[in-house]
């Protein structure tokens, strides 16, 4: 099998070369054009327009009588526009909401399209035109002229987006502003719809009507995870589409078919879409800032930092109450914060590893009393300072009663950005309290049995 893959990817076989190039360019164009549909929150309208292409093509076939890209495109554009128009009419003039209107249009136009293509197939020319293949797509049967067409379409779409990048950007971000600035927003909207139609029609033979939509929407959605820049997003969406097209074609052409199943081999369109879907899943999970894993790690990190800071603050405040006393984390934190014994152990373990706390004796296992190391004392002082600065701010500027501020400050002290803390510190310095301020409310009494002298 690997030999096959290598042979395929190195384009040694003229036939597969055509299919690979065609599918790759289609993915590229769909990713870039689809980005604007996704960003304008028009993914569903794109879906409807793409489905409307099928009856458009069927009608065009009845008029022209053969497989002709120009006629098919015209039919698809007309029906696509009719579909989009119908959706907005229904929305504007009836009580049907937009999602229902889109669902009605998608289903209705698709059903009409299937009927028309069945009718067309019964004529001898229709069978040759391969209209039935437009529903699921048959990339493997792509011929050089199909690929050439896709190349032209992709080139045109990319050129259009490159030239009108700034216009499409302002249209997608803020349509009212663009219109107030004098841009013909309706024409630009129609251009985006037109580009979607062109890519759809060019891609139908390869990927099919149902899945071309996935190719328009999935790569941009995946690309968005990795970047906060529109230009980068377009490049990534194009690259993901290209990769999905090439890889999906390669996999479907070379993966071994289980004996007795899939008499026609692996379907290419679904393989391409599955590759795009895998890229989406990977992006969703692994993207550095917006990804799910990164988010979960960030939350765990924040929770641990808060727990650590709570330990440090408790130790600092206990030491304020009875200087030199040892701190019983189990007793203090379980009582005051309701921590379970295992959580107390975990937090203490992490604090010890960070060199912030230590047991009084070197050979102590660390289940008993603790004291702050030098670094720990510094860290604790700064945590307490942040906490009390925030409390003072709440009391002085937000008119919150002193006995209420502890809880509020407790939530926020861990996440205050340094520049805000600096501002608070300047205010404190101005009022002559530069070091750790005294707590503005009475501290809880040390729990009985906790502390004790060394």
């Amino acid at each position: 099998m690997w030999d096959d893959v290598v042979r395929l990817l190195t384009l040694q076989d003229a036939n597969t070369r055509v299919v690979l190039i065609g599918a790759g360019l289609l993915g590229l164009a769909a990713g870039v054009v689809g980005s604007f549909a996704v960003l304008r929150r028009r993914a569903l309208v794109g879906d409807a327009v793409a489905h409307a292409a099928l009856p458009g093509i069927g009608l065009a076939f009845f008029v022209v009588g053969e497989r002709d890209f120009g006629a098919f495109l015209l039919g698809a554009l007309v029906m696509g526009a009719a579909c989009a128009g119908l959706i907005s009419l229904v929305r504007a003039y009836t009580r049907v909401k937009e999602d229902a209107a889109i669902a009605v249009a998608v289903g209705g136009f698709f059903g009409l399209g299937i009927v028309l293509s069945r009718l067309a197939q019964n004529s001898p020319e229709g069978n040759k035109a391969g209209l039935d293949g437009f529903i699921y797509g048959k990339a493997a049967s792509m011929i050089a002229s199909d690929a050439r067409l896709i190349a032209w379409v992709a080139g045109g779409a990319l050129l259009g987006v490159a030239l009108l990048y700034k216009e499409l950007k302002v249209l997608s971000f803020d349509r009212d502003f663009a219109q107030a600035q004098g841009w013909p927003t309706l024409a630009l909207d129609l251009l985006v719809m037109g580009l979607i139609c062109v890519v759809t029609v060019a891609g139908l033979p390869a990927v099919g009507i149902v899945l071309i939509v996935a190719l328009l929407v999935i790569p941009p959605a995946a690309a968005r995870f990795w970047t906060d820049r529109l230009g980068t997003m377009l490049v990534l969406a194009g690259a993901i589409g290209l990769g999905a097209g090439v890889l999906g074609t390669a996999v479907s052409a070379t993966a071994p078919v289980p004996a007795g199943m899939l008499s026609r081999g692996w379907p290419t369109g679904p393989a391409i879409v599955l590759c795009a879907g895998a890229a989406f899943l990977a992006s969703l999970l692994a993207a550095p800032r917006r990804g799910v894993v990164a988010g979960a790690l960030r939350r765990v990190g924040l929770r641990r930092r808060i727990q650590l800071q709570n330990l440090l603050r408790a130790m600092h405040e206990a030491a304020e109450g009875s200087p030199g006393a040892l701190f019983e984390p189990g007793v203090e934190l379980m009582l005051e914060r309701g921590w379970s014994p295992s959580r107390v152990r975990a937090v203490v373990r992490r604090a010890r590893r960070a060199g912030l706390v230590e047991p009084p004796g070197a050979d102590d296992p660390g289940r008993g009393p603790l004291r702050l190391t030098e670094a720990g004392a510094r860290a604790a002082a700064s945590v307490v300072r942040a906490h009390r600065q925030w409390e003072l701010f709440l009391i002085e500027h937000a008119d919150i009663a002193p006995d209420h501020v502890d809880r509020d400050a407790d939530q926020i002290e861990h996440v205050l950005p340094p520049d805000l803390l600096r501002t608070l510190e300047e205010r404190l310095a101005a009022s002559g309290r530069a070091t750790v301020p005294v707590s503005p409310h009475p501290l809880p009494k040390p729990a009985p049995g906790a502390g004790g002298t060394p």
Partner: protein
């Protein structure tokens, strides 16, 4: 005195002339027969209760919603010929702040109008955009993605985009919404700077208390024009009572009847 042709506001012709405008949403009239002359080189507030049609009036002047009847002129010309003189700050909620652009990108959009088709913003435009960010105190956030800005910062980015437009006449839809007091003061300073430069600002405003302090001229609106004029003359208890003293149920009912009849 040198008359700057790019800022016709230095002449005395009205900045905006709204002539007998009626606007309907969904065939339901929201503004009835508004006649309005707005003078140049003023800070002008549009006030009125919720649903009074304040945003709609701005959008009607800007051609963003169709007029059921009437006409609008900007500096004595149809809007089509005066677009380059007009800047716009939409409501902050009207856009998707998760859009993949930086604050600087958004401000650069203010320059797009003068660039024309296809041309990309160059270094001069970048400089102008950075200066605009500087004026609203947002230089430090230039490269931040816009969702990472606070509400007040987003509002300031919108104001900077309008400054980058370098227009003669600005329409601002609730520029102080969701803005903290310090930011509001800073923004008012910017607006006063615009007035010193001969520009006109028309802003939908919600806080009646600050109207006399911030604005020279006021438009009181509640589905129809209640009063308009210099703050000293028009911003009177009687006019405020007419504007806010309960909705005009007759207009409301009439609008509803129109909608039902045509729907």
């Amino acid at each position: 005195m040198i008359i700057d042709r790019s800022h016709p506001g230095v002449t005395t012709e009205p900045a905006v002339e709204v002539h007998d405008c009626t606007v309907a949403y969904d065939r339901r009239p929201v503004l009835w027969d508004v006649d309005l002359l707005l003078p140049p080189r003023r800070l002008i507030a549009i006030v009125g209760p919720n649903g009074a049609g304040k945003s709609t009036l701005l959008k009607a002047i800007l051609g963003l919603v169709p007029l059921a009847s009437g006409k609008v002129e900007v500096f004595g010309k149809p809007l089509r010929q005066a677009r380059h003189l007009v800047g716009y700050v939409p409501q902050r909620e009207s856009v998707d702040w998760d859009f993949p652009v930086s604050a600087l990108d958004v401000v650069l959009m203010g320059r797009y109008g003068r660039l024309g088709w296809v041309r990309r913003p160059g270094s001069a435009d970048r400089r102008a955009a950075r200066e605009a960010l500087e004026k609203v105190g947002m230089s430090a956030c230039a490269d931040r993605q816009i969702s990472q800005l606070s509400g007040g910062q987003q509002q300031r980015v919108f104001l900077a985009r309008a400054l980058a437009q370098d227009a003669s006449l600005y329409f601002m839809d609730e520029p102080f919404a969701g803005v903290d007091a310090a930011t509001e003061k800073a923004m008012v300073t910017v607006l006063r700077g615009l007035r010193e430069g001969g520009r006109t600002v028309v802003a939908v405003h919600h806080d009646l208390q600050t109207v006399p302090e911030y604005f020279d001229h006021v438009v009181l609106l509640n589905m129809r024009l209640v009063a308009a004029g210099p703050v000293g003359e028009a911003f009177t208890p009687a006019n405020l009572h007419k504007t806010y003293g309960g909705r005009l149920t007759i207009l409301d009912e009439a609008a509803e009847a129109v909608r039902r009849a045509r729907g």
